[in-house]
């Protein structure tokens, strides 16, 4: 943002007007009995028309309460929607694992391994299948990171259709 223009200024003012509409909004931490983590990840593909990078994100719940979330442009360009989804899945996995360590530190026993829901079948297959697809060679590190955690049963990856 070294050369802001009028359109940027208008965008900033719109954010503040949006903020004004949210003054009465709040974040509810509800009493729950189900102490388990579960997360959702999603991504678009090549959403940025400036550099063709995708936007991915995750949302992690503890019981009924959302604990951690992020949405952001991915650092590298994805060659397929599955790859974009897979990178989001890797980010979500890292966060869930961090939270799982935190829960262990807090001495809160976990009921089951955290589940991450992802709406891309290809990405869920990638997390479980040891098959090395030619089109995903270049995402090797993320690939092994998630699959390693799944193989150790530290997390489960499940498919959830977008419309649900």
């Amino acid at each position: 943002m070294h050369a802001p223009t009028d359109s940027h200024w208008a965008a900033v003012k719109r954010i503040l007007r949006y903020l004004k509409g949210t003054t009465s909004y709040g974040f509810h931490i509800t009493r729950g009995s189900f102490f388990a983590l579960h997360g959702f990840t999603d991504a678009d593909w090549a959403g940025s028309i400036d550099d063709r990078k995708s936007t991915g994100g995750y949302l992690v719940f503890f019981g009924q309460t959302p604990i951690s979330w992020k949405s952001g442009k991915q650092r590298t360009v994805a060659r397929s929607s599955t790859e974009a989804e897979y990178k989001a899945l890797a980010d979500g996995t890292a966060e869930v694992i961090w939270l799982q360590y935190l829960l262990t530190d807090l001495q809160v026993p976990s009921v089951s391994a955290p589940t991450i829901w992802c709406d891309n079948l290809g990405a869920t297959y990638l997390s479980a299948n040891p098959i090395f697809h030619a089109c995903t060679k270049h995402v090797e590190v993320d690939y092994h990171f998630v699959r390693d955690r799944v193989a150790k049963k530290e997390i489960q990856i499940r498919f959830v259709p977008s419309r649900d």
Binding site: K20, I29, R31, F35, D50
Partner: protein, 349 residues
Amino acid sequence: MVDLSFYQLPQVSSLPPSSPVSPPARSNHPMTLKPRQPKTANLVASTAATSASTRVLHSPSFEPIAFSDADRYAVWNNAMCDEIAALRSNHTWSLVPFHSSMNVVGSRWVYRIKRRVDGSIERYKARLVARGFTQQEGIDYSETFSPVIKQATVRLVFSIAVSRNWKIHQLDIHNAFLIGVLTKEVYMKQPPGFVDSSLPSHVCKLHKSLYGLKQAPRAWYTCLSDFLLSIGFRASKVDTSLFILSDGTNIFYLLVYVDDILLTGSNSAMLHHLIQLLSSEFKLRDLGAFHYFLGIEVQSTGMGLMLRQHKYIFDILTRAGMTSYKPVDTPVSPSKVILLPDHSFFDPT
């Protein structure tokens, strides 16, 4: 990032890089400071007594920037005398002869009017801050990083506490940044208006931390952390601002955000004991059930806790002069597109 400016943020980052009225800090000429009315330490009480004839007695409703503006008013003068007395009893510094090898940082006064909820004036507060931006790495400071609690940790601990019906206490540490012990030698000019007339060329050798010093947050964190570890807490490995105390049957969580502390746990009697233990070491206030933490308003509902940022949003809109603007439903216009100036990709869809 939360704005903490209305939540007793220590005056570190809000310090302007250089004030237009106070003298510039020049480390090679540390004694250029010429206050209008030099006072010696033992004259503090008597200046307050003589001020009746020379100083304006009515209570001003503005916060002066310069010492010379504030010194005209009895209330601000008293506030400065109080601060100097507090620093003296804290053994914050001792006066030593100046040597040319010393890097001497300046000091200035920051004046704040503390108001009650209804807007009336509660008290006048003068805070002496070191001009830490003239400190040199390796000479008078080394490590400055001070961990702060992660928001996800706060929400997770809240969620656990709410689910288990634990009470969450908020503790407010009084003058947290004055508690830390300095490990590096730091020299500071004598405070404006309080130059010892018998030793005018001496400088303050700091033993304890001061607001404005680069290492102030870290010195405080180290001090608090050492104490917590000594009473049985352990620092979480994944979030170093979270401390956990467990004796097998009971468990307590303590969250640190600079000088704001949240404490919760499974046994309320032991919680009170822990708070007493902490207050025996640090001067603190137990704010009880908390309503306001890191700019977030907390309301108890039948179902749990409701967190809101109504005041924070209102403050932003006030600062932008947009309180009367019409709200919109989305943060970004779906039709207008902002492009890079050298837009080189095209939309293939």
